[in-house]
Amino acid sequence: MYNWVSMIARQAEIGSGRLTRHMEKRLIEQARSGSEEAARVLVDAHKDRLFAFVWRILRDHEESEETCQEAFLRAFSSLDSFSPKYRFSTWLFTIGYRLCLNHIRRRKLLTGEVDWSGMPSGEQDVSEMLAESEEARRLKDEIWGAVDKLSVPQRAAVLLFYREGMSCDEVAKTLGIPMATAKSHLHRARARLRDSLAGLVKDWSQVQLLREAAS
């Protein structure tokens, strides 16, 4: 018997790792009826993106893993109430973001109290699309440092907008805020990034952080 769930999983691996809307809908239906294989494909397709998002907010590996696990469990336990007009990723990121906020409230971690010693070093594996020079690595670390100094809603808005490629409307839905507020978070985040990074480079238009930009 041909297993279409395995087929979808293979397609997701071959492609960009993201599921099409149709695949996602079928997987959710199967997971809702108790299919563990479908649930596994959904977890594998979203876990890295969700973890990156959560880790950027919490900055703690163990807590981020626990939060991701809780987000998946909550998503699976309330699949009956999931509306197919939304993307599963949007829903999952919404749950993850709220869990992050709860977590931050619990440990009373403010943005200014972030431990900067935990910043990623240049020795970590980076995408092959990034320039490999030491100067580029330093600038990328500076940019991440500036991103980490943003407030939690601003950081979440930046991550969802740039990394997840969400529109302002999707960011607003994911964060559960009006679109005007989401835009405000995004614009203020850019202003703060501009202030933080202004003195680093004389002319940013000459900086080649990415190979793609250089070509």
Partner: protein
């Protein structure tokens, strides 16, 4: 041509992808002539590129998916079937009602079998409300229709036990309690009698002892006056047949002297 201030106000809309083509052209034209605005916009774009593409976060542990699925499996509780819910919803009240009815039947004393047709009489014809209790049936019988047949049947009815189940049970307990009370009363009377006898015997013994000492001639020795025998009245004479010639150590300890 737009100014630097105008250009900066357009940055966000441009980066959001919401700038109209006409304004985009204006912005690009300004950038060509303004290196500062060009650098600033390049910086914001570089930030976006790094956030989007620089994957420098730590990776998840390999067992993450298995852990999630294991936790999900433990969360999945088999749902009760609908008929099971129906049994719970309908069966429970029915069982409760049946229990109450059974208890009522046990508690209510057994009723004499009264022929309803005889009680109500054939002339009633129509539907008559059923008597709710034996008392009502009896009232109806007496007041309305004292037919001979009904009286005969009532006379033939064996005498109704005066008590129901609970009363019979309680009667047994009461009977046992009464027996117990009688027994206790008897024991108390015996004890009282024994005490009276012992007091009498002790006082007689004391009188006899006093007479004998007077006859021998009284001395002033304190040990002779010690009322050791007085302590013996604590027990009935039959229980301690030994004479109290020598006081036992514990009696000496109790001696107030």
């Amino acid at each position: 041509m737009i100014t630097c201030q105008d250009a900066r106000q357009l940055f966000d809309r441009y980066l959001d992808g919401e700038l109209s083509p006409a304004l985009q052209t204006e912005l690009h034209a300004h950038q060509l002539s303004c290196p500062m605005c060009q650098s600033e916009l390049a910086m914001l774009e570089a930030c976006g590129d790094v956030v989007a593409l620089d994957r420098c976060e730590p990776s998840l542990s390999e067992s993450f998916t298995d852990r999630v699925l294991l936790a999900r499996r433990s969360q999945l509780v088999p749902r009760p079937r609908r008929w099971g819910r129906m049994v719970l919803l309908v069966g429970s009240p029915m069982a409760a009602a049946a229990s109450i009815l059974l208890a009522f039947m046990l508690i209510v004393p057994s009723t004499p079998q009264v022929n309803r047709t005889a009680v109500l009489g054939p002339r009633d014809g129509g539907i008559v409300a059923a008597p709710t209790s034996v008392q009502e049936a009896m009232k109806l019988t007496r007041a309305e229709d004292r037919s001979e047949q009904a009286e005969r049947e009532l006379a033939d009815t064996p005498p109704m036990p005066a008590v129901g189940f609970m009363e019979a049970l309680l009667a047994r307990v009461v009977e046992q309690s009464q027996d117990g009370v009688e027994g206790v009363r008897g024991s108390v009377a015996e004890l009282e009698l024994l005490l009276r006898q012992s007091v009498l015997a002790a006082s007689e013994q004391l009188v006899a002892q006093g007479e004998s000492t007077r006859g021998k001639g009284a001395t002033n020795d304190a040990p002779a006056d010690r009322p050791i025998p007085d302590l013996e009245f604590l027990g009935p004479p039959g229980l301690n047949p030994e004479p109290a010639s020598e006081p036992t150590p514990h009696l000496l300890l109790l001696d107030p002297l």
